[in-house]
């Protein structure tokens, strides 16, 4: 079953947005997508780096009026 997951990271400052992403991703199934909203300007580059480092896929990143919306898909397999 695919349900749309959302997380609001508004107001959080570094490193808490990615800490929250790390906590949320554990609850998701492989391949599941979620949307994260943030307003910390650092989140723009950080979410990209976080995805590069963890291997989860950054599907979309929108930056409009200081509101950042990222769509992330959890990676299929844990590659060691």
């Amino acid at each position: 079953m695919i349900t749309e997951r959302k997380i609001d990271l508004t107001g959080l400052k570094c490193p808490m947005p990615i800490v929250q992403l790390a906590k949320l991703i554990k609850e998701l199934d492989a391949g599941e997508e979620f949307t994260a909203t943030a307003d910390d300007p650092a989140f723009c580059l950080d979410v990209e780096s976080w995805c590069n480092k963890t291997g989860h896929e950054l599907i979309r990143l929108e930056d409009s009026n200081e509101r950042l919306v990222a769509v992330i898909r959890k990676k299929i397999s844990e590659v060691e």
């Binding site: 107001g11 400052k13 570094c14 808490m16 990615i18 800490v19 992403l21």
Partner: protein
């Protein structure tokens, strides 16, 4: 097309197994790009904040993080409360000069007899920047490892019961740090 199957001699298999074993051993000894080792030497609030932001951020990125607290860093992890019993006069003096409690950590700059720190702490709360206790709680949740330099503890008369409660906190020496550091691709000194 017929499939050709080559028979492999037991000697070849033995050589291959040996080579695999050697490679696995080599692989085991290479630094892990997903590991971060940190030496926290400083005990000032700003430097501790930087150390824990990096540690929790790296752990959130899926890295194995281990922090080694030495000297002022070790003393900075003392919790508030009375000193432990059985200390020498000099150790008690060190205990008084290095008071416990995360809230007592000073800034390395702009401390201004506590005024600067108060302003900084107020701004942090206003701007929703995580405080030191919050970051330490996050480090716990994310499984960041903390080890304390036993030599620093003995030198300053710090006893384990005087330190903050942290799951799996270890008390060790430089060999442990060297092992952690050499198996991590990155080591920081703060």
């Amino acid at each position: 097309m017929a499939l050709e199957i080559e028979t492999v001699s037991p000697e070849t298999i033995a050589t291959m197994e040996q080579r695999i074993e050697e490679l696995e051993k080599k692989q085991k000894n290479t630094a892990d790009v997903n590991a971060l080792s940190m030496v926290v030497f400083s005990g000032e609030l700003d430097k501790l904040l930087a150390a824990f932001v990096i540690a929790t951020g790296a752990a959130a990125c899926g890295m194995r993080v281990s922090m080694f607290f030495t000297f002022w860093g070790a003393a900075a992890l003392k919790k508030s409360g009375p000193q432990a019993k059985g200390k020498s006069i000099v150790e008690r003096m060190f205990g008084c000069l290095l008071p416990g409690g995360l809230g007592k950590r000073k800034l390395s700059k702009l401390e201004m007899l506590g005024v600067g720190r108060q302003l900084m702490t107020r701004e942090m709360a206003k701007k929703n920047v995580a405080s030191l206790p919050e970051l330490i709680e996050t480090a716990k949740e994310l499984g960041v490892g903390i080890n304390i330099c036993q030599m620093s503890m003995s030198l300053m008369g710090i006893q384990a019961e005087e330190l903050i409660d942290y799951p799996g906190m270890g008390y060790c020496g430089v060999a442990n740090l060297v092992e952690q550091s050499s198996s991590s691709n990155t080591t920081m000194f703060i």
